[in-house]
């Protein structure tokens, strides 16, 4: 069953067509990776899905409801949760308060405190919970933002390059974290460059090129597609 259904979506910036007549389906319960070379339109498509850009044409359905003209907060209230490419946290607030702000609509009192502790421990941030979020390392800020996204207990987790700036160990750990939440039923859509990470988490892959869908399928099929290898992965990856 499709949780997200993108139908014929386009986005033009003046004379530049960043996304052109794209159809994309993300099924409930899957980890779906959106890949492509630089300038392929991945981040633009991501921003169209989360509501940061209004599309020039087409429609976006979430759980069979047309959300094309809804603002990001309304999409979040429907069950989306979003992590942007650059760490986007409340830098002048303590780490714990960042998590608290994400949790406070769902939980209160002792339940909320317990969930704060659980998430901080899960993200290895418990010992830094009183620090200002801006004082964390880049990788820790990425995790904090992922933690804030997870705190909403979304149906759909949207991640734009979640491992940018992370060490290989941190990247692997992030992948395991995503897989564990997926195992509990969470649908995940990831925009990512790191093919090792994509191999670790992806169940289905869509390749964008020059603003259009170039290929789609399971990861092994994509990796064996020579045209994909030519435009993006490089022959060495394909074999």
């Amino acid at each position: 069953m499709a949780l997200v259904d993108v139908k014929g979506v386009s986005k033009r910036f003046g004379g530049l067509t960043a996304v052109s007549d794209v159809d994309l389906t993300v099924n409930a319960g899957e980890v779906h990776c959106l890949i492509g070379p630089n300038g392929a339109g991945k981040s633009t498509l991501f921003k169209l899905i989360v509501g940061l850009y209004p599309p020039t044409g087409g429609s976006i359905l979430f759980d069979s409801v047309d959300i094309t003209n809804e603002r990001p907060y309304a999409r979040v209230q429907r069950g989306m949760s979003i992590k942007m490419q650059a760490p986007s946290v409340f830098k002048e607030l303590p780490v714990r308060q960042n998590i608290q702000i994400a949790l406070q609509e769902r939980l209160s009192g002792a339940e909320r405190s317990a969930e704060e502790d659980r998430l901080l421990t899960l993200l290895d941030l418990a010992q830094d919970s009183d620090k200002l979020a801006g004082a964390l390392s880049h990788g820790q800020q990425q995790w904090l933002e992922i933690g804030m996204a997870l705190a909403l207990q979304p149906q759909l987790l949207l991640l734009d390059e979640p491992t940018a700036g992370m060490s290989p160990e941190e990247t692997f750990k992030t992948g395991e974290l995503i897989k564990s939440f997926n195992a509990e039923g969470m649908t995940v859509l990831v925009v990512e460059h790191d093919m090792a990470f994509v191999r670790q988490v992806a169940q289905r892959v869509t390749v964008l090129h020059l603003g259009k869908i170039f290929a789609r399928g399971d990861l092994e099929t994509i990796l064996q597609d020579e045209k994909v290898a030519d435009i993006y992965l490089g022959q060495s990856h394909a074999h």
Partner: protein, 357 residues
């Protein structure tokens, strides 16, 4: 409730702080017993302006919205009180006039705020639009000297100012002198406690989050526009409370209490005090008003130059605010003394937490 009073958005927590708070309050309550009526009246006058400063602190320091429109709402409620008190008669109706005039100011804030916030105006443009509204109101009221400019029996009177309204009263008892002073103290305590509870509540969390990163706040499911509008209406309503009380206190109001020099004053008070904390704003604004009044007796120009100098010094030396910076310095000094570490400078303590606005 105590958790909200002692929450993370406000400096000054714990037993020592609240003991000092109670001691200062007790001192304020017994002050009229020892002071002469002139000084008590002066203190009431200083306290009138504190509401406007606290409102700006909420909007600017907590919400990240630099409003230059505090005297716009001050003027609306001030003139509103005059018009209502003159038309409704004196006595207890002045209480209704105060409440209604503040509500009118809040309604005006809701309309102006809606168009600005839903229109996507933010940052420095928020200040420019609110300043423009302020100057337009001051200019408009300045040309209302003719007899045709009246609302009911209340004449606006242009630059001569509106007069003839009764002061605050209950029945035949006029709330003046010490009585007004105690009303001011009670209102200040109520507003201060209510604002502390607001900023430390879950709503306050979102207000601060919106200041820090509005896009992130929206992506946590909050319609940040509603929180910004709420903050703007409350902050502007407090400016309205100052305006209504001012007119009631002096029984007059003129356009000069709205214009550019007046509009700049709350910015100076709050910037000097420390915009990111209610207590620092309360203390700093009171001290500045006291100092301004004292110097004005000798030279109004000197007082204005001093205000400008203080604003420059704040920007250069302690951008987070002098009162807040000194407060943090004292706390740091005490903590480092116990750990035997070198003390920081005022500039270190006064570093900006956020330079969004």
């Amino acid at each position: 409730m105590f958790k909200l009073l002692d929450g993370p958005q406000t400096l000054g927590r714990g037993k020592i702080f609240w003991s000092c708070f109670l001691a200062v309050l007790a001192g304020a309550l017994i002050y009229p017993v020892f002071a002469d009526s002139y000084d008590v009246g002066n203190f009431s006058y200083f306290l009138i302006w504190i509401f406007m400063a606290l409102g700006l602190c909420l909007m600017w320091g907590y919400g990240g919205m630099l409003s230059f429109g505090q005297t716009f709402f001050f003027g609306i409620a001030g003139y509103g009180y005059g018009v209502l008190a003159i038309n409704m008669g004196g006595g207890t109706t002045t209480i209704a006039a105060i409440i209604l005039s503040v509500l009118i100011a809040m309604a005006a804030a809701a309309v102006l705020g809606y168009f600005m916030i839903w229109g996507g105006i933010s940052g420095i443009f928020f200040g420019i639009v609110t300043l423009s509204a302020t100057l337009v109101l001051a200019f408009f009221l300045g040309q209302t000297a003719g007899p045709e400019w009246h609302i009911g029996t209340a004449r606006l009177n242009g630059f001569n100012g509106m007069k003839g309204m009764d002061p605050l009263a209950v029945g035949d008892f006029y709330i003046e002198g010490s009585a007004l002073y105690y009303v001011m103290i009670a209102l200040i305590v109520i507003v201060y406690i209510a604002l502390r509870m607001l900023v430390n509540s879950s709503v306050g969390n979102v207000i601060v989050a919106t200041r820090e990163n509005p896009q992130r706040a929206e992506m946590l499911g909050y319609d940040v526009r509603k929180y910004q509008l709420l903050t703007f209406v409350i902050g502007s309503g407090l400016a309205g409370l100052s305006g209504a009380l001012y007119t009631s206190w002096g029984q007059f109001i003129t356009p000069s209490s709205i214009g550019l020099p007046a509009a700049a004053m709350p910015i100076v008070w709050v910037a000097f005090s420390g915009r990111s904390d209610l207590t620092a704003t309360l203390v700093g604004s009171f001290l500045l008003l006291f100092g301004f009044q004292t110097i004005t007796v000798y030279s109004q120009q000197a007082a204005l130059v001093l205000m400008g100098t203080l604003l420059l010094a704040t920007v250069m030396l302690a951008p987070q605010g002098f009162v807040l910076g000194i407060g943090k310095l004292v706390v740091d000094w005490w903590t480092r003394r116990r750990r035997r570490e070198p003390a920081p400078t005022l500039a270190d303590a006064g570093r900006l937490q956020s330079d969004e606005t």
